[in-house]
Symmetry: C3
Subunit: 139 residues, 3 copies
């Protein structure tokens, strides 16, 4: 078994789901392994990772609205507001989703289901530069 690691850098356009399946698959393919384990790790506490349906776009709209409702922007609720009213809700939405995801590599392909896409979930209002650490081990 061998391994590789790298950082994926991207800019988000502000709040919402940004699909990164293509970039992640391309990097994984370049490592030339048939079987293995890919791990993605989001290096932020106000953005997160999510695997969701990549077919119907309404799923993403509904997901964003659901998390906005569950952890709303409402300064009266939170003690932490140094970085603006969207900061504490961003931490909560990140805590409810994933900082890290691992996906097995089988037969030279990530074992994603037919309708699964990998998303970076930006929780801040403004565009941000984000980094996802990638690690793969296998043969």
């Amino acid at each position: 078994m061998r391994q590789a690691a790298d950082i994926l850098s991207l800019r988000t356009p502000g709040r919402g789901l940004v699909e990164i399946t293509g970039e992640v698959e391309a990097w994984t393919r370049r490592q030339g392994m048939q079987t293995g384990l890919l791990t993605l790790f989001c290096r932020h506490t106000s953005a997160s990772l999510l695997i969701q349906e990549n077919a119907a776009p309404e799923v993403r709209t509904d997901l964003e609205a659901f998390f906005a409702h569950l952890a709303p922007e409402d300064p009266a609720r939170y003690a932490h507001d140094d970085e603006g009213p969207d900061d504490m809700p961003a931490h909560l939405r990140a805590a409810l989703t994933n900082t890290q995801l691992s996906i097995p590599l089988i037969g030279g392909r990530l074992a994603l289901g037919t309708w699964q896409g990998i998303y970076l979930f930006e929780h801040r209002r403004r565009p941000h530069a984000r980094e996802v650490a990638m690690h793969v081990s296998g043969d």
Copy 2:
């Protein structure tokens, strides 16, 4: 270090928690490793994985009721309803739990605590065929 990967296929009876600890432990044991890392990956966006108490059955009933309340079936809330009223809540409940779980293997056994069981959480009303990708690496 070496590795193995496979797909666990199962049928769910509709909404609820289906314990898969036995199948997962049996497959892991057959790989004959003493130390390693097992990863499970659910290949669906309307079912998920969860580690929970396998002693008191009321814990599972309460868990199901909690997620049903948190992400309710209510067509008025969601734009996405092509696949029925239970589809979008299924995506939300999957987003709140886990698509993937990894468990260390120590001394030839998965490092589960005394009361921990591994569950596939079916979020759709009807029975479904589900696939969980399994990967283990170790010695």
Copy 3:
């Protein structure tokens, strides 16, 4: 590639976030790897793992209050109360956060972002003895 595994034992002072970044980094460093993957697994169903901001302490207070509100102590809601009114909410808060976290090791360091800390999230009111299984593989 080689690997190591161990159990981190700690006592929590009751409900709240306990930072374990230092212990985890120290153990990982002792394994002497430059590149790899660290996995942490919480062996309990009423405590969990979370990566969150380790700068502003109000973030932790707000996080605890948010989960207390989302999955409240309220015996009328739950069938499972054998172990006290804080037990079922503890299972729910654990289900909403993480039983397991994996972090890539790059350049001899965990790929945590500048503001990220690793926390054990104790969900029971009383102090508890908790175990986190640790596994690292790499070179």
